[in-house]
Structure formats: C-alpha cells, structure tokens
Amino acid sequence: MPKKDNQPKLPLRLIAVSSIAIGAYLINQWVKRASYRIPTQNFQARREMPPPPGHQKILTLVATVKPGQEQALNDVLYSISHNRENNPYMNFSKIKSIHFARWLTIYDELNGHRFVFSCTYNGEFEAVIKEIADATPGLDAIWGKCTEYTGRDNFLDFARGSFQPASYRFFAFPTESPQTIRDKITIRSRLQSIAGNYPNPKDVESFLDSLHRVSHVPFWTAVERITAWLSAQALAGGRYVFNAIGDVMARFFANWGLKPHVATPYSLIGTPEEQKKHVQHLIELDRNETPFQQNQFTLVAEIRPERYLRMRFLMMIGALLTDYGYPPGSLIGVFTIHSLYWVILDGGQRAILCTNYDGNWSSYLGDFARLATLLDALFNNVKGYPPSGLRQVNLFNSWIRGAQLICPLYYSAYPDETVLNIIRDREIAATLGQEMGYDVVERLLELL
C-alpha cells in the first residue's frame, strides 16, 4: 500500500523536532531564571520571557485614555514630534538608556481608546521609569489624559500597574546599549576624519607603515585567534541546526491553515469609498515615516481565539531561535531590523507587534520574501489575514498597511545608523581593540 510509505514520516519528524525544541527551550528558561530579577510587585511580569543579564529589554505601558481626551493626547504627541528640540513636554537629550520608543493610541470597541508607550532599553525597570519621568517635564500633560495616572509622584506605581510583558522579542544587537553604539559611531567617524585629512592615499602609507611597526602580535594572540575561529565555526554549525529547526517549524505552521497559491490577486479591489479611505490612511502613514533611515511599524492584531495557544507556541520557538539561532544583526538572514517584538494584550484577545527597521516599509516589503514563512506562520493566527498569506504579496501589502497604526511620536537613539552600519562599526571598534592593543588606540585618538 503506497500510502503507508508516505504517511508516518512527517509526524515522526515533527514529534522529534518539537521535543528537541521544547527540551532545549526549557533548559534555556531554567538557566535564565536563575540570574533574572523580576520587576517587583508585578504579577504580569512573571510571565515575560526573561532576558539574559545585560541584554536589552522591552517596556510597554498600556493605559486607558479618559473619555474624549484621545484627540488632545494625540495633539500633544504631534506637537512634540513637530518640535523635538524646544517643546515643553519632552527633553530627548535626557534619555540615555532607551534605543527606540513610540507613543501612540490604539482603539477597540471593548476597551475604547488606550495609550501605548513602548520602548527598548538597557538597565533596570525602575531606572528607566525614573529616566522617562525626568526627561518628560510634561508628564501630567501626556499621561494625565489616562484614567490610571495619579500624578508624577506615583509614576512608578502607575508604570508597574500598566506594564505589559513582551511574549517574543528580537534585538539585532541584544548586548549593545545606546551609549556603546554611539561610542562606536564616534570611533568610526573620527577614523574617517583622520583618513579625510589625507585625500591622496599615498600620503597616508608611511603613517600606516609606522602603525604596522607598533603593532605586535604576541604568541597567545595567535592561539586566541585559532580558538576564536574554531568557536565561530562551532557556533555557525549550531546556528545552522537551529535555523533548520526553525525553518521546518515555520513551514509547517505557515502551511497549516493557509490556502494554497491563489491564481490572481484581483480581489484587492474594494469599492471606491474603501479605496479612498485606504489611500488616505497610506498618506497619513507616509507622513509619519522618515524617507531613508529608520522607521517604526506598529500593528494591533486580533488573535483568533482557537489559535491563541498556537501563536504562543510559535512565539516560544521563535524566542528560542532568536536567542541562539542568528548572528548579530540578522533575523533569519534579513539585516534591516533593529528590533521586533510582540506584546499580548487582554488575556490573549489581541497582540501588538512593534518593529524598528531601516528604510521604508512598503519599499522594503519585497525583501521579506525570506521572512515569508515566519510571518505567515504568525499572522495566520490573526483575524482578517489574507488566506493566501504572503504568497500574494500585493494582498498582504494591502492588508498589513491597512492594519498598520499611525504613530504620532517616535524616538530613536541613533537615527542615522542602519543595522549594516552598526555591524561595520562593531567590526571597526573590535579590530582596533584586538589587533593593535589599547595603547595604540589611545595614541590614535590622541592624534585627532
């Protein structure tokens, strides 16, 4: 019977793969918990994926907007956005430990208008809350429009109460803080300006020769290099295995419940009114995008109740892969995403997706072919997702842009730096540190 030959393979493989993945995940959790400090007095935070020590974290605060205040709140946010340097509400120069932050309102029929603040940061929960309060002279003008807020003095308690944990997170460079990234930018740009003093490369050759004489490579450095190479190979091998597992899982879940290839996407066309509304929404989104550098993407998705567990399971697998599967800067081989995370709200009814990425969303959409299975696997569990998924790129685009939220205020600690730039800057800084020794770097900086 030919059927029998084909059938048992997939479930067996699936069971094997998922048990390995689950086992690895549990060990991962166990190791991490030992060294993790949970924000105090917050039950919800216990369910958060605890990050390894020293890694970036996510802070998301969700609070109910007082009835009729949503427009006033948005107006304040827009006025900050339009005048970042001199506004009475926010002093961005006081923000030190936050990488990216967004302020926006969301709406659903059950909960009404809610205010969402979400950022990625380094350090402790209490410290970042204090930093936000110190950098926001207009705390009352912003948060005072929320029911739960009772004044500046109680901001920490308010933050604990409105904190929502992230269920999945990806950071391009989890161990970097805004300051370490800025330091590397400084090193690089100083080196650039040194090189700029010698427009003719011939002039700099003798200088570089002298540097070469300074640099000694002791024996142990050579040994170190070999071990570093070996461990890099081992890491790459491990990553390959993890990637393969992730790929299998994503493919399985992407295909489970999605319709096969639909021949044409012409069902895109709505009524002229729907089209007009969609175009207006796109114009509004474009207005909040910077043309070249970094942008944010925020979406609130309603989770299909029967798919909630499946979504959590995928996020768990995803988190495992993110921690071990990808080299710095890469999310499944895509090097344009600084951070990406999901925050589940209302006991699993809906989820917020936040990303910080380089470039422009609609333009970069095509680059997500590689992320297709993962996005399909996740969005597949969300109400309204096109049944053909990312395979119909135009339908997907129309859906995702329609669902994207307008974000009045966005902050980035290093707005001109792409993921690729950071990778390069890290390499420059690392090379300076390793190959030439501290004294040479110091001498080099003195020469500026």
Binding site: A195, T264, S267, F292, S363, T418
Partner: protein, 490 residues
C-alpha cells in the same frame, strides 16, 4: 514568446528602444473636449506601434518600422476621458498622485524642484497625455507634420501644451561621455535579442507589462472596469473565477516614467578634476577618466569595471555577465557606491542573503529608454584621442543639454521609485555611511562624497554637487490596444 494576439495588443516601447531612429519628438497633450479627444484617439490607435514582430524583406532581413508612435496617459488624462470610477480608483497611488507630488520620494528638491520644471510641474500646463514619435531621418519631417495636423484637426479637442525634440548620438553616448543603455534586463516573452542571455538577467514579463506573472509569481495590481460598463466586450476578462463582475483595463498596459534630465557636464568634469593629484595634463586626463569610471562603475565605452578594473576595454562594451558579491565583494574594482552598482546591485545587497539579493534586485528592474537634447559640449572621441586633453579644463558654454529619460515598469513605487529613493539617493545604501549617487544623486549641498575602496586606505572623491537636474517629468500609463479602443467608446 507571447502569442501574436497579445504581441499585437502591447505598445512596442517595452520590447525595443528603436535605437536606429535618430530623431524624436515628445508631444505633451491636454484633452479639452472629451468627444473630440475620443475621435482623435480613434484616428491615432491604428498608427501606434506594437510589439508585433517586424516583417522580413525578400533577402530575409528584418524591416523595422521607420516611424514609431507610442501613447501614454496621466491619471488626469484618464479622468478627462471619462473612464469608470472603478478604473480610476484601482490605479496605483503614485500614478494618481503624479510625479510632481512625489518629489520627496524622488529627491526632486533644491534646483530640481517641480516648481522649476519646463513640463509636468505645478506651474506648467496640466498634461493629460504624452505622445512619443520616433522616426528615421528620412521619414521624420513628414510624420512630425502629420501628427501636428491630427492635433489641429481635433478642432481644439486636443491641445499641444508642450513639445520636446530629441535625437540620438551615433555613438550611443550621453552628454557626460558614457555609453548609455547598457545592462538592460531581458524581458521574458518579449525581448528580441540575438545576444547570449546572461542567467539572472531574464526578468518575468509581469515586471513590465500588466496581466502577466511578475518576479513574485503573481500579477501586479491592475485597473478594473465592471462588466456592465463594457457592453461591447472590448476588454479582456480575468482568468480568476473569484473575481467575477470585472474586466481588466490594465491588461497589456505598462507604466512609463518620463524625466527630462539636464546635465551640467562642465561642473561634473570640473569636480572630478579638483579631485586629481597627477602633476601633468596627460596624467590628469587619465586620472579623471579613471575616477569618473569609478563613480560610474563602467568605463566610457560601457566596459564594466568588475571585468576590466584598470583600463577601458571597448571589446567589453556590452559585457553584462558579471556579479558583484561573487567577483568583487569589497568593491575594489567597482565601488559599492558607483552608479551602476546602485541602480542594479545584482547579488550584492548586504541586508539579505546572496541568492535573495539577485531575486530582490530583479524585482526592482526597469527598462530604460533615452534620447538626448542639446548639443554635446565636447566630442566623445576626445576620450580616446591622445592629443585631445579634454575633459581637462572644461568650461560651460551655457547650452542646456541632457537626456529625456524613460523607464518602463509594472509597479512604479516598487521599481522606479524604489531605485531612486532607496538606492540612488540614500546615503546609507548597502553599508555606506554618506555616499549618494555621484552622477544622479541629489547632492544639493554641493558637498557630496564618494568612497573608492583602495589599499591601504580608501580614496574619497569630495565636493560633488547635483550634476543632473530634473527639468520636467510625469507618470504615464501606456494602455494596451484593446484598452485604448475601450477608451474611445466608454
């Protein structure tokens, strides 16, 4: 190849640049009266050149058409023709907006602001259609007069609001002195090419013509008309049973980008000269050619730097069989920020993996067509003439010169606009920090830089300004023949 019935429905510009035609005129039209405009269109349709195969003479040689006519409409033009609302609203957003309104995306700022344009800007007459006439020397005058007469015969229904005359250099070079139009994609099912096809350079029909599968394996968005608005069954239906009730107005159509680009040839070569170190004039000329090739990514003859890094090799003028990441990952031959490596990065996009890079690059391809305006500042032969020291010490003569640039694609925002915004004008393109395209980038400040990877330390060309100014432009839709017949009757 596509079946003959389809070839006869597609305007020919997608399959050929008609490079043998030396003269061209671009008529910018406005429709004042719907009925008279439709009569005019009815007369024009039979004259329009399609992708239909060229006939052979008795000796077996192909006989290309001597006069070539194409027609494109702006969104406002389609509105003026009274197309059903569904077709107008299902059009892509950038096409509805028009080029002048996309200036921030395209980088048309400073001296390229649409306010300063000759055609297509807010201060110019509204353009509803662009008629492109290309003709050989012997047929041009007659064809030119005939089309003027047709416009006149419409008795004010169709008005000529602007006209541009253009020509093609025998050498195929553009005013800076470089060979133009090399490295075009091969369109599956349409390109008549006898050259060996480079793998990875064949692009699906749907990237340029609507109604065919594109590089994503799907159809690009099209414009639709409800069945009841097409009582004579002029438009093709959809193969998709999920989408009943509509017909496809967009089928066999394509989007045409037009830009009038004025080139400041003297300023360009002066900026290059300011970056040289050679003490002698002869050395300076060689260094200038080398620097300009580094900025372009190809030598003046068209030979790619990846294949010939040290000297111009005219035998490689049309060579296209190379990759960047594979052959020159660091950009020591062809700098990462050079014009050709930006406009089609092939396998070198750093933000995704190698194989994905070729695929992504192919989802951004455009077909380029170009004709010149304004007399050349110096003869192109001076590059190869040892006694001619030009372009050293070049001075401007005040003549306006440049190219009429055309790009054909199926989704302008995903293709032409993306190239312009994310690759050409983006200083952070592909791992770079502060390099815009040295030739066509919007270096409004005049302080643009370009990094040339070099051992032991990179060389930087500085003081680059905006050498190419936009002087006009527009987004046009070139409908299929059936769609135009529908426009006459709708």
């Amino acid at each position: 190849m596509l079946p003959d019935s389809q070839l006869k429905d597609i305007q020919g510009f997608v399959a050929s640049g008609y490079d043998y035609t030396s003269k061209a005129t671009y008529f910018f039209l406005q429709f004042k009266d719907q009925k008279k405009s439709k009569e005019w269109l009815g007369k024009i349709i039979p004259k329009i050149t399609t992708t239909e195969r060229w006939p052979f003479d008795e000796n077996g040689r192909v006989m290309p058409p001597k006069t070539v006519l194409h027609l494109g409409f702006t969104h406002e033009g389609l509105v003026a023709f009274g197309l059903p609302e569904s077709a107008l609203y299902s059009a892509p957003r950038e096409f509805i907006d028009g080029m002048a309104n996309r200036k921030h995306i395209l980088g048309d700022t400073g001296s390229s602001d649409p306010e300063l344009w000759d055609v297509g800007g807010p201060k110019n007459e509204i353009v509803h259609a662009l008629m492109l006439l290309h003709a050989t020397d012997d047929t041009y005058d007659e064809a030119y007069k005939a089309h003027h007469k047709l416009i006149k015969d419409s008795k004010g229904g169709v008005v000529l609001v602007h006209e541009e005359n253009a020509f093609r250099e025998e050498s195929g070079r553009e005013p800076f002195g470089f060979s133009d139009g090399v490295g075009q994609p091969v369109v599956k099912g349409l390109s008549f090419t006898s050259k060996p096809v480079v793998s990875g350079n064949v692009v699906n029909t749907g990237e340029f013509v609507l109604g065919y599968l594109n590089e994503f394996g799907v159809y690009s968005p099209t414009m639709v008309v409800p069945i009841d608005k097409d009582p004579n069954n002029l438009l093709p239906g959809f193969p998709d049973p999920q989408n009943p009730g509509y017909r496809d107005f967009g089928r066999n159509g394509m989007f045409l980008v037009y830009r009038k680009l004025k080139q400041d040839v003297a300023a360009f070569w002066q900026a290059i000269e300011a970056n040289t170190f050679a003490p002698t004039e002869k050395g300076k000329k060689a260094e200038m050619l080398w620097l300009s090739a580094k900025l372009m990514g190809r030598w003046p003859s068209g030979a790619p730097l990846v294949m010939s890094p040290d000297h111009d090799d005219p035998s490689l003028a049309l060579a296209d069989d190379f990759l960047y990441e594979r052959d020159d990952p660091e950009g020591f031959r062809c700098p990462v920020g050079s014009h050709v490596r930006r406009a089609n990065p092939r396998d070198s996009l750093q933000n995704i993996s190698w194989g994905d890079s070729i695929h992504t690059s192919n989802t951004r391809r455009i077909l380029r067509r170009a004709r010149l305006f304004g007399e050349s500042l110096f003869p192109q032969s001076s590059f190869s003439d040892e006694n001619d020291m030009r372009p050293v010490g070049l001075k401007d003569d005040g003549v306006s010169r440049g190219i009429h640039f055309f790009a054909i694609n199926a989704e302008t925002d995903r293709q032409f606009e993306f190239i312009q915004k994310i690759w050409i004008n983006n200083a952070g393109f592909n791992n770079l920090y502060d390099n815009k395209d040295a030739y066509v980038g919007n270096n409004d400040s005049g302080n643009g830089v370009m990094t040339i990877p070099h051992v032991p330390v990179r060389r930087q060309v500085s003081g680059l300004g905006r050498f190419v100014d936009v002087r006009g432009g527009g987004y046009f839709f070139m409908p299929g023949m059936a769609a135009m017949r529908y426009m006459v009757e709708c």
